[in-house]
Structure formats: C-alpha cells, structure tokens
Symmetry: C4
Subunit: 223 residues, 4 copies
Amino acid sequence: MADDGPDEAGEPEGPDGAAGQPVTPDRLRAFSDGVFAIAATLLILEVKAPAADERVWHALRHEWPALAAYAVTFLVIGIAWIHHHNLFHQVRTVDRGMLLLNLGMLATISFLPLPTATLGGHLRGGDASAAAVFYSVSMAAASAWFTLFWHHLCRRPQLMLPAAREGASRARRNSLLGPVGYAAAALIAPLTPEGSLALSAALVVYFVVGRRAPATRTRVLAE
Amino acid sequence: MADDGPDEAGEPEGPDGAAGQPVTPDRLRAFSDGVFAIAATLLILEVKAPAADERVWHALRHEWPALAAYAVTFLVIGIAWIHHHNLFHQVRTVDRGMLLLNLGMLATISFLPLPTATLGGHLRGGDASAAAVFYSVSMAAASAWFTLFWHHLCRRPQLMLPAAREGASRARRNSLLGPVGYAAAALIAPLTPEGSLALSAALVVYFVVGRRAPATRTRVLAE
Amino acid sequence: MADDGPDEAGEPEGPDGAAGQPVTPDRLRAFSDGVFAIAATLLILEVKAPAADERVWHALRHEWPALAAYAVTFLVIGIAWIHHHNLFHQVRTVDRGMLLLNLGMLATISFLPLPTATLGGHLRGGDASAAAVFYSVSMAAASAWFTLFWHHLCRRPQLMLPAAREGASRARRNSLLGPVGYAAAALIAPLTPEGSLALSAALVVYFVVGRRAPATRTRVLAE
Amino acid sequence: MADDGPDEAGEPEGPDGAAGQPVTPDRLRAFSDGVFAIAATLLILEVKAPAADERVWHALRHEWPALAAYAVTFLVIGIAWIHHHNLFHQVRTVDRGMLLLNLGMLATISFLPLPTATLGGHLRGGDASAAAVFYSVSMAAASAWFTLFWHHLCRRPQLMLPAAREGASRARRNSLLGPVGYAAAALIAPLTPEGSLALSAALVVYFVVGRRAPATRTRVLAE
C-alpha cells in the first residue's frame, strides 16, 4: 500500500531521496495520463458539427482548418505523452522541482484546446496570422517544458536511474527540436499562416516517424 | 508505417525483454482507457437538453436520432475498448509500430463525437444521406485499426505471448467484420439513412451478444 | 504483465473460469472509474455561469434547480461508484454477462447529465412534472443495474469470492432500494416536482450516511 | 458525519486489516485522480476562443480575467491534488467518514469551473465584487476539506500509518492556511475584486513554492 517503487532502486539515496519526495511516480503518472487523455479528447468539442440546416459535406469542407488543427494538436499531445512517459521511465525519484515542472507542463497541455480552436476559427479569416502565431507559440511553450525537465535532470543526476544518466545531456539537446521548430513556425506565421500549420504538422509527423527523433532516442534504458 | 528496426524485442529476450520498447503496456493501457472512457462520456454533451420553453417529452422525442446515435456510438466505443483490451492482453512487447497504430486509433475514437453529433442533427433533415455516410465511414475507420493491429502482429509474432500466436491470423480475419460491415452501412446510407443506422446498431449488438463475434473468439489465452 | 488477479483465488475454476474471461477486472475497473469520474465532473458544465450582464447572486439564485440537481446527481454517481467498487471487490471472475451489464450501466451513468440538465432547466417552468419524471426514471434505471448484477451473481456463485457468496442474496434484496425509491420519486413527480427531487436527495443522503444502507451492508468480505 | 462503528479497522489488525473497509485506497485514488484531472482540464472550456470576426490578440487581451482565473484555478486544483496525495499516502485504512469527506471534497473540486467562469466573465464588469466573493468562498470551501480530513485523522490515529501520527496535528494546523487565506480574499473582494484574485494567486503560488507551506511539511513519512 505504501510501496511506490523508487525504493526498489538499490542506490543510496541522494539529498533528494525518496523520503523527501512529496509525490510518488505512480500517482504523478496517473494524474498526468488523465490530463493528457482528457485534453486530447476534448479537442473534438471545438470542431462544430454541421448545423441542422447546413449541407453536411459542405460544412465539413468549410471546417477543414478546425479538422486539421484537431489532427495536429491531437498528435502533439500524443507525442508529448510519449515523451512524458519516456522521461519519467528514467526517473527513480521525483523531487519538488519536477513536480512543479510537471504541473506547469500539464497546465500548458490542457491550455492547447484554446489556441487550437482559435486557429481553427481564423485560418481562413482576416486575422489568420495572429491565430497561427498564437498556435505555434503555444506549441513551443508546451514542448519547451521537456527541455526544462532534462535540464533539471542533468543537474541532478541522482534523480535518474543509473543507466539513464549518460544519455541525459543528449536528450536535453534533442529536446530543443520541439521549441525551436515551433518557434520557427511562429516566425513564418505572418508570411503564411497555412504554411505555419503545415510546418507544425511536419514537425509532429517527424516526431512520430523520424528515426532520429527524440521519441526514438530517449528510450527506456532500464526496466 | 515506421519500420521497427532491430531494437524491438525479439524472441530470445528474457523477462527484461522490454528494454527496447518505448512505452510500457501499463501506461499505454492507462492512456488508452482514459481516451476511451472520455470519448464515450463526452457523447452525451452532443445531445441537447430540452430548452426551458420546450415541452420535455416532445423535445426528447424530437431528439430521438441524437439519442439513438448516442446509444450506438457508446456501444461501439465500449466494444472497441473490449477489443483493445483483448488484443493488448495477448501482447508481451509494444513496439513503435503498435504505438503509432494505437495513437491513430485513439485519434479516430476521440473523433467519433463529431459524426455522432452530425448524424443526430441531420437524420430527420434534408441531408440525412450524407450524415449517415459520414457516420458509417467514421465507424469503419475506427474499427479498421484492429485489422491493422492484427496484421502487424501476424507479421511480428514475437510481439505476442506464445499462446496467442496461432490464433492471430484468425483474429485478423474476424476483425474484418467491423470495417466491412460499417462500409456496407455506408453503401446503403444514400438509399436509407435510417436503415444505415439500424445496420450499424445491428452490427454493434452482434459484437456485444454474438457467440461467434470477434469479442468472443479472441479471448484471453494465457493469464 | 498477464497476471490480473483472479488466478490468485485458489478455488477450482467453474464453467466461466478465468481462462474464458474476455476482460480482466483491473482494466474493467480502470475504464469504469474513468466513466464515473468524467460523468460526475461533466455535470457542472450543465450549470450556466451568470452571463456578463447579469447580477451574480441573482443569477445563481435563479439557477438553484440546476445547482440542486448537480449536487444530487453528483452524489448519485459517487454512490454508484462506491456500490460498483463494493460489488467488484467480491468478484473473482468477470464473465461475459457481467461485462455486458457493466457496459449497460456505464451507458446509463454517462447519460445522467442529460436528465440532470433537463431538470435543472425545467424545475421552475411549466413542464416541471415531465422533467422530474425523466430525472427520476433515469436514476431508477441507473440504480437498477445493481439489482441485475447481484441477480447475475446469485445465479453464478462461482464468479464470487467464496466469502462473498452467502451475502449475495441479501445484497440483491438491498439493492432494490434504489430502483424502488427512485420509481417512487417518479410517481410523485406529477404531484410535486420539487418534492420528487427532494425524495431523490433524501434517498442518496440515506445511501451516504444510513447505517443499514446497501453501501454499508455490502462490504468487502475478503481481501 | 457518519459515525464509523466497530467495523472500521482498529490498531490490532494485521496486514489484512483492511477487511472492514468499504473502499480500497487504490480505487479511491483512481477515482479521485480522475476527478482532479478532469476538473483541471475542463477549465479551459470556460475560456471562449476569439470569434471568427474578432481580432485574435484583442479578444485574448479582453479575455485576460478568464485566462488569469484559469491559471489560478488550475494551480489550486493541482495543489489540492498534491495535498490529497500526501494525505492519503499517510493513511493505512480508509473508513466510511473519510470516504464521505472525499466525496464532498471531489464535489467541491468539480464545482470550481463554475465560479472560475463567473469570475472570468465578471471581473471587468459591474458585479465584479460578487463574482470575486463567489470565487474566493468556493476556493475556501474546497481547501477546508483538508482541515476536516486532518481533524478526522487526528481523532482516529489508528487510520494512519504509525510514522504519520505525530505530525497529524501540525498538518491540521497548517491546513488552515488555505481556508483562512481564501476567506481573507473573500473579505477584501468588495473593496478590490482584482486584489482578491491577486491574493488567491499569491496564496497558491505560496503553496507551490513556499518552503514552509503544507505541501512541503506534510511529506511522505513512511514508504
């Protein structure tokens, strides 16, 4: 009942050892999984169903920006969940700093339905640039938390499982791809809002299928 | 889709065979369970409560297409959850390909409130055929992922528990009933939108109670 | 990974033994917990926040039926969750019938936001009786599943843990209080809609604090 | 509230001491985690996306009260989740009273989207004082449950793990900071609604980063 895993790690506990940790990894994962799953599933509520007096296919075609934004954001959240899983799988102790980083990241993730709805509603309108900037900056912010996580871990290697320690600085470097890429999408948004969304889509597809993407590199090292 | 490479678990790996897997089955199930449960529970939000100035029974009778679509989609998601459970219960290692298939399936499942609301709003209107096609095609897409899953497993038997391997090709064949049946519902939708919904309902009832349905055949083989 | 608990029960397996069970209790609980938690939390979305041009306290007072319905339904779902927990805690094997009963019960639970919103919107209006009947009948339906569950278990005692078997018929009898009580609330609804809601509230409060209520009687017998 | 009676676990019970408990801590956590995660994630639905004919940045600036209320409430729910985790980590047996306290707390947590939306919609309007009072009182109510929890535990030390017992009365005292602080925010709301929100924000930031805050003091004592 009070056995939550990290004590199984055989190493002597450091200054942030399990005794001082306010949250066990299991419940941190349960709460985080809940927020990821809910944020991803709520997105569809922002796509308006065709009204009773509209032609169905016409209305859906008209909603393509909302549908495209739905697809991209769903994948972004799914990839963030995978990164979150990979990261916490290499952690043996959660300290207060990680708890706060996690809370901030979840707040950003659960915020994403707002820029997604904004982009979906404005991509064909007069203020598409601003909507695309808002969307891309939100994505950059959501992904930047992983760089902060890895930076935190690089400075406190005792929080990681021993086998994970040597890969952490590479993981930190790789994790920059998200915020840098989405920031680039924000920069080109004033020129081409649709190109900005396409760049975000390309980024997330790369995260999904790329052989050298962070999702592939930062694997489970010890289980 | 995303060739897996040599890092995925091959047969010889022992109890630590998960070393190369990017996501542990437990969290995959937790995230997936969350998406299934939320998508199923959000559906009711698409059924409008009678407005304050409407007669309650009259308004609910008027909403019967939305209520029927709610019931069918809820059962479809419930059955998909059961299939998902059965499938992952026969898996010993999750590789990258399964992770992507799972992400795609969850995106489709969490998409279902949109066609459900569309059908509920149009089944009695002038564009009922298109709404029924949209609904049936979405259902076919959601169920087709299981065929892709079993196909992936048939080609990589080492991902399955030993006892599950001989039943996999039969499971793949059985899993075609969903996409083929819902495609048939899409085909008859232009002739009879209500008949199309009735066929979808019949299919899901068969999945629920049929003795030879995939849900019954692809059982837990080793526990 | 494939160890899900029921095999720990030492008794020889009956005709519905674990080998034939399509869903493990753990995931059944996870999916069910998700639906309960989401249905309970979605309820507040049906209470409209005061519009920007309304006086806050005045609007909230005006919303008291919606707030009262929120409170009663939240407790009903919470109690249903407790009953669900108690029941499944005495089960060692989930058969197909229980799976279907569970799916039906979850569909009814996730349906409750609709009658709750209907009652909240109509309790002060001209069609309050119909709204109160709709609400009470929905509650009766949601609670009747527990009687069906216990009936199913009484006829298949091998599904229960040995220590739970002798209490099952009493649990079945006790479980009638819910559907009978809410049916009584439906019967008095045409006379006094507010009295009907008050009776539902009294019932759920009794379930919460009553010493002889099913929640108290059907305890965990073996753990 | 619901005297517990002799069936609740007393000190002498051994590793099977949970025999009389109606709900296992694991499922209590799962259900509670779900409600916390959903309530936190639903909050963003109360922030309206800029309409298609609005300027994006202008509309978002106009929505700053809703965004600020979103951020504060998200953190309040996150902190409540941490407190909930800390508290239940020191509990070895859940009795009926704790079950009811938990149900009440979850009802209050899942209620928070309503005052958050109210404050977001009124902070710049004519009735900002009332909205700020409603918001602060709701926060005070949500946090007061923790004082009730610790009070319940202080009177029934056998419910706690042995190592947790001596810290319980200090935890009860510390837990007063929340309700007292939010009550102070309610008191100043008629004078300065924005100052009231700022005080709530300061409180939650203190809970997040303060070195002597309850979140830090009520740590995991035995694991």
